[in-house]
């Protein structure tokens, strides 16, 4: 099992690296392709565990759900920018900053990074601290409304939890070793 995981990680890293090599070099003769393959193999052998952590379980479903999540995230980015533009250009500057805290059932690194970056990109909130042990987030909100969106509605936490197959309310259970 462990061996299979390692092989999967190495081949996935090799595939991604080769894609990058071909895109960035843009030359398709034998010499460049072969030297690219050798470089990619060396990189994949040495540092595959940096890119692919854990096994292949549910990886395809997770990627598919992530791709469904990204368009929603893009729409949130547009809303966030209109929100900031409104607050900046309004003569009275309607801001009322506050710092809030909440906990999530997410534990894996990738899930936490996704949620933290999503919070930073969505209207009126920026992640300050993330504690990977307890899943605690400290967030700086620019006004009361965006803070309530995270504390009361919890739309974003539910969406990210759904992407990574974590039960939203079952605080604690997850793939953390």
């Amino acid at each position: 099992m462990k061996r299979g995981q390692r092989l999967f990680g190495i081949s996935l890293t090799f595939g991604i690296m080769s894609l990058f090599w071909i895109l960035l070099s843009g030359i398709f003769d034998g010499f460049h392709l072969i030297s690219g393959a050798i470089c990619c193999a060396i990189v994949a052998l040495i540092s595959h565990d940096l890119l692919v952590k854990g096994g292949a379980e549910k990886m395809v479903q997770k990627s598919l759900r992530l791709f469904r999540y990204i368009p929603w995230e893009f729409w949130q980015i547009v809303l966030a920018n209109i929100d900031v533009a409104y607050r900046v250009l309004h003569p009275k500057m309607p801001i009322n900053p506050c710092v809030i805290e909440f906990e999530t059932p997410l534990r894996s690194d990738f899930a936490l990074v996704t949620l933290a970056n999503s919070i930073t990109l969505t209207p009126g909130t920026i992640t300050i601290l993330v504690d990977p042990e307890t899943g605690k987030f400290v967030v700086h909100a620019i006004a009361q409304a965006p803070a309530d969106a995270l504390l009361v509605d919890q739309t974003m936490q539910r969406k990210v939890a759904e992407v990574f197959f974590v039960e939203p309310s079952a605080g604690g259970q997850s793939a953390h070793p």
Binding site: L23, L24, G26, I77, V78, A80, N81, V84, A85, R87, V88, L89, M93, I95, N96, P97, C98, V99, V113, A116, N117, T120, L121, G124, I126, T127, I128, L129, V138, H140, I142
Partner: protein, 109 residues
């Protein structure tokens, strides 16, 4: 062709607008954290829109070199990952140094 150029111009103008708003926010907002709100968010969409306009322009006018458009879209992807991460890192550094966030009613710093 003219329609595409118009769309490209719209994208570039939108990008310029959001980058400009980000700069105004940097000057107008009262403290470090709120200023990061302005720059961290507006730069992401501003740069994204400008690159989107460039991709569209390149695909239409220089359709033989597809690789440039692919590289530009990678740039956009990396900006969308790196910008929130960097904003968070700066924010965390300030918070752990003990900089107190500005509250409504405080004096401007």
């Amino acid at each position: 062709m003219v329609i595409i150029d118009g769309i490209v111009t719209l994208f570039l103008a939108g990008g310029l607008f959001f980058t400009f708003v980000g700069s105004i926010g940097l000057l107008r907002f009262p403290d470090f954290y709120t200023r990061l709100h302005a720059t961290g968010k507006c730069d992401t969409l501003g740069a994204g829109l400008i690159i989107l306009g460039l991709i569209l322009y390149h695909l239409v006018h220089y359709s033989e070199s597809f690789l440039v458009a692919a590289k530009l879209s990678f740039l956009m992807l990396f900006i969308f990952i790196a910008n929130p991460t960097a904003t968070h890192a700066i924010m965390k550094a300030a918070y752990q140094t003990g900089l107190v966030p500005w509250k409504l009613g405080d004096e401007r710093k």
